[in-house]
């Protein structure tokens, strides 16, 4: 976050706009909205210097519900709009919100390029594995075999992984959380906002109407210990209440699951999570059921500068190199001649 202002002391509820929230009762988006409000409060964000930008979709209704500046744009283009905002006004605190359709179907191109450029944005992908607003068609994250109005015999395409795409695009902050994790999610959001550069957070979100339980295999409390790998920088990659862990594979490059015996995790060779290890992050991003799914900050390694700072630094340097250059002088850099009466 590049805005250098004294943090405000506002309650989460102070970040709610006066608009009636119109998601379906029970939609996971409510929880995410709450988490965002919590995070803004925790960050002491100034609503007048904060901008939420979105595309189109249920998720993309987000800006209307926050008492900050908001731009509800067009389908898939929010990362590009946000990049323009940051280029013009690096001091603003800009968040991008979109669904899996918005960001990983029509908007993939802009997502990838925003991440590789690395402007100081938080990009939230509210992944419900479905097109909610348009009534339940398959999205790029819908699992194979799912029947929807557009896939009456089931989806045949392999789903995309937001975190894998983000890492491949060169993202320097990649995290994953779950709509209902009301302690975890705000923490991750605060971390994402404090990261300088483009921070992508994939949030597994439940669409109660069209894809209810899409993430249940991961998020069900009953098996959470087995299905979730909670990442913490500097702590071992343990799950199943510490009974299992991830260790480097033997005789090949990769990870393997190890049982942690009474000698402890070190003895079992369990790796310690290192947020700055892009290779590790890539391997963690690829974990999918039946393996435990990685939640938390997979990767956080800020680049030396952000896109907008690099651009403006270049312009500043160019200005310094030609201090006398103004428009009149630039026009006269070509040969001129004078006609008198």
């Amino acid at each position: 976050m590049s805005a250098i202002h004294a943090p405000l002391r506002l309650e989460p509820k102070d970040y709610a706009s006066d608009q009636e929230v119109r998601w379906c009762p029970g939609c996971g988006d409510y929880a995410i909205l709450k988490a965002v409000e919590k995070a803004l409060s925790e960050l002491g964000a100034d609503p007048d210097r904060t901008v939420f930008v979105s595309g189109i979709g249920c998720a993309a209704r987000f800006p209307h519900y926050l008492a900050t500046y908001g731009f509800h744009g067009i389908h898939g283009r929010a990362p590009a709009i946000a990049t323009g905002i940051k280029l013009a006004r690096p001091d603003l605190d800009v968040w991008v919100v979109g669904g899996d359709g918005d960001m990983l179907a029509i908007g993939t191109n802009h997502l990838v390029h925003a991440l590789r450029r690395d402007p100081d944005l938080v990009i939230l992908i509210l992944n419900n594995a479905i097109y909610g607003l348009t009534k339940g068609q398959a999205s790029p994250t819908t699992p194979i075999g799912t029947r929807t109005p557009t896939t009456p015999s089931g989806v045949v395409e392999r789903p995309l992984s937001a975190c894998e795409i983000a890492l491949a695009a060169g993202a320097r902050f990649v995290a994953r959380s779950v709509d209902v994790h009301q302690k975890h999610l705000p923490e991750i959001l605060v971390r994402a906002r404090r990261h300088e550069g483009a921070a992508m957070v994939e949030i597994l979100q439940n669409c109660v109407i069209y894809a209810d339980g899409a993430w249940a295999a991961i998020t069900d409390k009953a098996h959470a210990a087995e299905t979730q790998l909670l990442l913490r920088h500097g702590e071992p990659l343990l799950f199943a209440e510490g009974r299992k862990g991830l260790a480097p594979a033997r005789y090949r490059a990769g990870l393997r699951i190890v049982e942690v015996g009474p000698e402890g995790w070190q003895a079992a060779g369990v790796l310690v999570h290192d947020e700055r290890d892009r290779t590790l992050a890539t391997l963690l991003a690829a974990l999918a059921p039946p393996l435990p799914v990685a939640l938390g900050v997979l990767y956080a390694d800020p680049a030396p500068t952000t896109f907008e700072r690099a651009v403006h630094a270049q312009i500043e340097a160019e200005r310094t190199r030609a201090p006398a250059l103004d428009l009149a002088a630039a026009i006269r850099r070509a040969p001129t001649w004078t006609v008198s009466d």
Binding site: T50, F71, A80, A82, I85, L92, V311, L327, V339
Partner: protein, 625 residues
């Protein structure tokens, strides 16, 4: 480059036996590697310094580097030199310098009968002829019958001239463009001083090359005097130009300066977001090199990202500008509708090229007018302007900025491939020290409503960061005042009407329709827009000189149309609309004004010639009731 200002146009050198000419059209042509554009640029500068008026056009090959000697690798430069104001590069060359057979082949069809052709016999070998697609030697088979031909062994003479300067044989040969330039300057009664100055700067670190090019230039210049061939020499007098300081400028340069001047006048930083595309890329290049002057440039991943980022920049309180050509314009359609819907300022520059689809990227056309005015989903009105000449592009770009910020609207500025690359002398305008139309963002909390309109129907521009005014905007239909999402039928009707009225009211902020030439009771009026200006102006002037009752009206504002246009056009018997498309402005005039505007179309990828328009004028006058 050194500022030549103060190089007041000197009186001509002592008289020689020369034909005085009121105008001459010269075309230099050769292989892409022959340095034709450099020579052309220097010819233009020397001409400008002579006080003559001029207009130039470079013609690059479509291929990046075609194999040497092929017709598709030919590069040309045309200049129209005149002792009076000219507006075109001239229909047909009076003088062609063709540095190889391919250059001859390509340019032959354009030559005026009786034109002088200078060619280098050393390049007319079998292989070169074949490469150029000649089956016989055109010097032998009568092909050149209609022309006067001078064979000068340019390359050989260049080598001789550069002997002893220490350059390689290859570099010696490469100086032939300066040899040819020297000769043309001599023919045209110009000295070589400005070129020498340029060479000195260009090759300040390469003394051998400097010496060689200088030697070639001098040799070419003296060749005219000493040659046994009687080389024609002419002289073109000074044109009456308005007093002031001049430079030559092409359309893209003028657009860049005009945008910057507009940003300055609005008191805003510009953010220019674009994706490379011929022929618009040059504008991105220009502005990228002028970033210290108040523009941030952004090369996006595609045209949709480019316009989206520009919209974001405008939202954030800069002026977002995006530029492209036809296919890229098509891609921006959806986002342009967003800008119109949320009512943010935005300038969109479409450097039109020949279509449809990829079409002929390096060729010119005016076929995106419909797209600019009509090409969006829903009722998404906006402002459309067009630049008439390279120099005019400066004023129009500035005007686009003014209208965008003053009316909170996207403005589409139509240029085209011809205008982008054509160059002409430009009287450098005074830049006022203070912003001429400064933007004042809305900051007053009192009764703030994001979409409450002022007397001109314009909503306030509130930028994020303004304390106490946080609000949300959206491409969904919004409430007439609060901007909150609204599906109310009456509200939608009211908003649709308000958006339309706001744009139509722009006509109150621009000059009413007026004739360029002629009288409102003439019989025929030619209504043009964009880069057809020059040809129409010259054709109408010529017709009027012949006593014809013909007028010229040229539209800078295409949407909304200027006030008074309907009554003005109603006074003529016939309304003829020359345009490089199949009749788009004519359709617009018919639809809006119910005048029987008749299209005069040309869709060859090339501008109108004065001759074509003159013929059309005569034909219409003969038929007219």
């Amino acid at each position: 480059m050194r500022d030549l200002e103060g190089a007041h146009v000197a009186a001509g050198s002592p008289p020689r036996p020369r034909t005085p000419r009121s105008s001459v059209v010269v075309r230099l042509s050769g292989d892409s590697g022959d340095g034709i554009q450099v020579a052309g640029g220097q010819l233009a500068l020397a001409t400008a310094l002579s006080g003559a008026d001029l207009e130039t056009f470079p013609d690059f090959p479509a291929e990046i580097r075609a194999p040497a000697g092929t017709t598709f690798g030919v590069s040309s430069f045309q200049i129209h030199i005149a002792d009076h104001r000219v507006h075109t590069v001239g229909d047909r060359p009076d003088l062609l310098v063709a540095l190889n057979p391919a250059a001859l082949k390509v340019n032959l069809p354009d030559l005026r009968p009786g034109a002088l052709v200078i060619l280098d016999p050393g390049t007319f070998k079998k292989r070169e002829l074949e490469r150029a697609g000649f089956t016989c030697d055109p010097r032998a088979d009568g092909t050149l019958g209609p022309f006067r031909v001078l064979e000068i062994p340019i390359e050989e003479l260049t080598r001789k001239a550069t002997a002893g300067t220490g350059v390689s044989a290859r570099d010696a040969g490469r100086a032939k463009n300066f040899w040819a330039l020297g000769l043309v300057l001599w023919m045209h009664d110009r000295d070589t001083r400005s070129v020498e100055a340029w060479l000195a700067r260009r090759f300040s670190n390469e003394p051998a090359l400097l010496a060689a090019n200088r030697a070639a230039l001098a040799a070419g210049h003296s060749y005219g005097e000493v040659s046994e061939l009687s080389i024609p020499a002419f002289t073109v007098g000074r044109a009456r130009l308005e007093p002031g300081t001049y430079r030559t400028v092409n359309g893209l340069e003028a657009l860049a300066f005009g945008l910057l001047a507009g940003g300055r006048d609005a008191g805003l930083e510009l953010v220019y977001c674009s994706y490379p595309i011929t022929p618009a890329s040059g504008l991105l290049h220009q502005l990228a090199n002028l970033r210290p002057l108040g523009v941030t440039t952004f090369q996006a991943e595609d045209e949709i990202a480019a316009i989206s980022a520009a919209i974001g920049a405008s939202y954030a309180g800069a002026l977002g500008v995006t530029g492209t050509s036809g296919p890229g314009m098509a891609l921006k359609t959806e986002a342009l509708g967003l800008a119109a819907a949320v009512e943010l300022p935005l300038v969109v520059i479409d450097v039109q090229r020949a279509g449809p689809s990829t079409g002929m990227p390096t060729k010119t056309e005016q076929s995106d007018l419909f797209q600019a005015v009509f090409g969006r989903n829903g009722e998404a009105p906006l402002v459309v302007l067009a630049a008439a000449t390279p120099a005019d592009a400066f004023a129009v770009a500035r005007e686009a900025v003014r209208l965008a910020v003053h009316h909170m609207t996207p403005v589409v500025l139509l240029a085209d491939g011809f205008l982008a690359n054509a160059a002409e002398p430009w009287r450098i305008p005074e830049l006022s020290p203070e912003p001429a139309f400064p933007v004042r963002f809305h900051t007053n909390r009192e009764g703030f409503r994001p979409y409450r309109r002022d007397g001109r129907g314009v909503r306030p521009w509130v930028v994020p960061g303004t304390p106490g005014l946080a609000h949300r905007i959206s491409g969904l239909e919004r409430d007439f005042e609060t901007g909150a999402i609204s599906y109310d039928p009456t509200n939608h009707a009211r908003m649709t009407a308000a958006r339309r009225a706001k744009i139509l009211a722009v006509a109150d902020d621009v000059p009413p329709a007026a004739l360029e030439q002629g009288e409102p009771d003439d019989r025929l009026v030619l209504v043009g827009w964009g880069s057809t200006y020059g040809a129409i102006a010259d054709a109408v002037a010529a017709a009027r000189a012949r006593g014809r009752a013909v007028a010229h009206l040229h539209l800078r504002h295409l949407w909304p149309l200027p006030r008074g246009l309907g009554p003005l056009l109603a006074g003529f018997d016939r309304v003829l609309v020359p345009e490089m498309n199949t009749g788009q402005l004519a359709a617009l005039l018919r639809a809006e004004l119910l005048v029987p505007a008749e299209p005069l179309t040309k869709v060859t990828g090339r501008p109108f010639t004065v001759e074509e328009l003159s013929r059309a004028i005569e034909a219409r006058l003969e038929e007219a009731p």
